[in-house]
């Protein structure tokens, strides 16, 4: 640690850092554009200039190492004047599209202009005309006029994705950011450039002209699309998700997330979601009340267990459920004495950075809770085979992503052969037509709980969207069913269940939702 004096205040900072991150760490805000905590230093914007005693010129804080006894001023008239100059130059050619710019409201150019700018333009020359709304890739558009040439995006493509699509062409005041005609910005992480762009030059097509950012409410969560568990904020308004954005967690995803995960959210507010439980009468499914549906399920499970034994019941659960919900399923397995339990995992392509081949958020959680490779039980295909050959009387399927694992004819034949099929899912497709009881499920955005990522890090998700009034969460459904089948009082409060898990599973011991906080914690080895 070294001691430095900033604006008359003495602070201690780590000795191997640059001045800017040290100041930010100490809570002293110095405006900056080109510096980003996860990218190399560029020093191009000159916005972070500060006065350091002993140096004749102002220095840029992002590229000045701290040293013992340094005396820094961040608010002297010289510094303020320099910032004002930088702002003025940046705005000479800026189009000021704020009313139609997606970035407005979270734009650093706006914020700094408001805080440090001159508020008045001294030029009346026409502004530079460049390409607007340029299609630079499948998910991104570029507005060259708005670009302030900070090169954060260029460094991102060079250092993080190593794909080098973006570059600054020409020189001096003719510099312009662009892609080469035959190399669009199409990498799997391209949308992160819109997050790090301090202005509205790079915009995602997905969010383009959708909503002003100040309407968005932000709920911290975790991406459900793969087992990496990237930390995100769900940004929602009018009970609808408008975008997902990465949330910094240096142990998991730094400040990034993949495009595929970012775009997986519309299903959560889809109007076709299943919202009422249904029971089959003859050839059709008819809506029924929640109590009736739960009773139907528990009666069927109890009767089957009594008649043919637990051997003739199977449980298939998706790896998209939270630890708390899966815990209640382990209790159901215990109560009924089930042996055929599987958590089928859908796999796909992965890469060496964030994207993992396991396409569900909580497969590790299911394994930790002992639902995978259940004692003496069968795996997914074996359970389907049991069903198809008439050896099952009841099948409880929670989630439908597993249907992607086998040929449709295979799982369809299996489901057709079981006399009682209970399906709990977000949509009536694809399993509804085979179900005898259909229970609506909640998406990850509508519930709270925890996921365990592939590195055994437990992280919290929180409810962002309100489900329709009266619709129970999956955990509540499991608790209701358990209440019918077993002694005791079963309720579903994620925090309590999480504590319960800690008591029963040593890996979770000592953890609580409060101790997980926003960044999560790793399980004991």
């Amino acid at each position: 640690m070294v001691k430095i004096t900033v604006d008359g205040r003495e602070i201690e900072v780590a000795n191997d850092t640059m001045l800017l991150p040290a100041l930010i760490e100490a809570g002293i805000h110095v405006p900056h554009y080109c510096w980003h905590p996860k990218l190399s230093i560029d020093g191009s914007c000159r916005m972070c200039q500060v006065e350091v005693e002993g140096s004749p010129k102002l220095v840029i804080a992002c590229n000045t190492p701290v040293r013992e006894g340094m005396v820094v001023r961040t608010d002297s008239p010289r510094v303020i004047n320099a910032r004002r100059g930088v702002m003025e130059l940046l705005l000479v050619n800026h189009p000021i599209d704020c009313p139609i710019c997606d970035k407005a409201g979270e734009c650093l150019l706006q914020d700094y202009s408001y805080n440090f700018g001159t508020r008045k333009s001294r030029t009346d020359e026409p502004r530079r005309k460049l390409e607007k709304r340029k299609d630079i890739g499948p998910r991104m558009i570029l507005d060259q006029e708005r670009c302030i040439l900070c090169r954060r995006c260029v460094r991102f493509c060079r250092e993080i994705t190593k794909t080098n699509e973006l570059a600054v062409f020409n020189m001096g005041d003719r510099s312009v950011l662009d892609v080469l005609p035959d190399a669009p910005l199409a990498n799997d992480y391209s949308m992160n450039t819109a997050d790090i762009c301090p202005v509205g030059a790079l915009e995602t097509k997905d969010f383009h002209h959708k909503l002003r950012v100040w309407f968005l409410k932000k709920t911290p969560s975790v991406c459900p699309s793969c087992s990496n568990g990237c930390n995100i904020t769900i940004q929602h308004y009018r009970n609808q998700i408008w975008r997902l954005m990465p949330r910094r967690n240096d142990a998991v995803n730094d400040t990034w997330m993949c495009d595929q995960g970012r775009l997986q959210y519309a299903f959560a507010h889809d109007a076709n979601r299943l919202r009422l439980p249904m029971v089959r009468r003859g050839n059709t499914l008819e809506p029924c009340g929640w109590d009736a549906a739960v009773k139907h399920v528990s009666d069927a499970l109890r009767a089957t267990a009594k008649k043919g034994g637990a051997e003739r019941i199977a449980l298939l659960a998706s790896a998209h459920f939270t630890n708390e919900e899966l815990y209640l399923l382990t209790q159901l397995v215990k109560v009924l004495g089930l042996r055929h339990v599987a958590v089928p995992l859908v796999t796909g392509s992965g890469d060496a950075f964030l994207i993992q081949p396991e396409k569900a958020a909580n497969f590790t959680g299911a394994r930790e809770l002992g639902l995978v490779a259940h004692d003496g039980g069968r795996d997914f295909t074996a359970i389907l085979e049991l069903a198809r050959s008439g050896q099952l009387d009841a099948l409880y399927v929670c989630g439908s992503d597993m249907t992607k694992l086998v040929e449709p004819t295979l799982w369809q034949a299996a489901l057709r052969a079981v006399p009682t099929v209970i399906v709990q899912d977000l949509f009536a497709e694809p399993l509804g037509q085979f179900a005898h009881v259909l229970l609506p499920s909640l998406s990850w955005a509508e519930k709270s709980g925890t996921f365990t990522n592939r590195k055994r890090r437990v992280q919290q998700i929180q409810r962002a969207l309100e489900p329709p009034q009266g619709q129970p969460s999956d955990g509540e459904i499991f608790a209701e069913i358990l209440g019918q089948l077993a002694e005791g009082h079963w309720t579903f409060h994620p925090a309590e269940i999480f504590e319960q898990i800690g008591k029963e599973f040593p890996a979770f011991a000592g953890l609580s939702l409060a101790s997980l906080g926003l960044l999560g914690a790793e399980l004991a080895p």
């Binding site: 704020c98 009313p99 139609i100 407005a104 709304r133 383009h208 002209h209 959708k210 909503l211 002003r212 100040w214 309407f215």
Partner: protein, 187 residues
């Protein structure tokens, strides 16, 4: 809390006969004023020069001063389109949350427009904050206050109902707001 005692001087109660005389005089005074107006109006009416102040609304309307705030309307440009770019600032500024906007993109030069622009007039309180917030001079207060409807749904005005041609608003409102908000020119 410190207390302070004030002694109030009340006039002594009037005795009955004096009170009756005084109130009788007051009644007669009132009748005199009412009948004076009646006869003067009748006389003016007979001569064909009415002196009444009563305005025969809705056949007759008084001109409103430019500062008058009726319901907010959307400015329609000469090409028939709205000037609004769906920036959402009025929606944010509105204290009663009565504006609902869904933006969308077009291929026009002005690339963004409100696909939906609704104002719930049953909630609007004619405060004019939307007008002040608008960076495009696209929503302004009009002189219209006739917002009654037969149903709740009818109180919601859609974009098409809200459009008013720009030249109709120049004299009545633009000049006034440019002066009030110290805007030198139109946007």
């Amino acid at each position: 809390m410190a207390t302070r005692t004030v002694t109030v001087q009340r006039p002594a109660a009037m005795d009955a006969p004096r009170g009756v005389v005084r109130s009788g005089v007051a009644v007669l005074k009132g009748m005199w004023i009412a009948s004076r107006h009646f006869w003067r109006n009748l006389w003016g009416f007979m001569r064909g020069k009415p002196t009444v102040f009563t305005v025969q609304y809705p056949e007759e309307r008084l001109p409103q001063p430019p500062a008058f705030r009726g319901m907010p309307v959307l400015v329609q440009m000469d090409n028939g389109k709205e000037r609004c770019v769906a920036c959402g600032l009025c929606e944010w500024a509105c204290p009663t949350d009565c504006i609902t906007i869904y933006p969308a993109e077009t291929a026009d030069e002005i690339e963004r427009f409100p696909q939906v622009f609704d104002i719930d007039m049953s909630r609007c309180m004619f405060c004019g904050l939307c007008e002040e917030a608008c960076p495009e001079e696209a929503i302004v207060m009009s002189h219209n206050v006739e917002i009654a409807a037969f149903s709740r749904r009818g109180t919601v005005w859609h974009k098409e109902d809200l459009l008013v041609p720009v030249r109709e608003l120049e004299r009545t409102r633009f000049r006034h707001i440019r002066k009030t908000y110290e805007r030198s020119t139109e946007p």
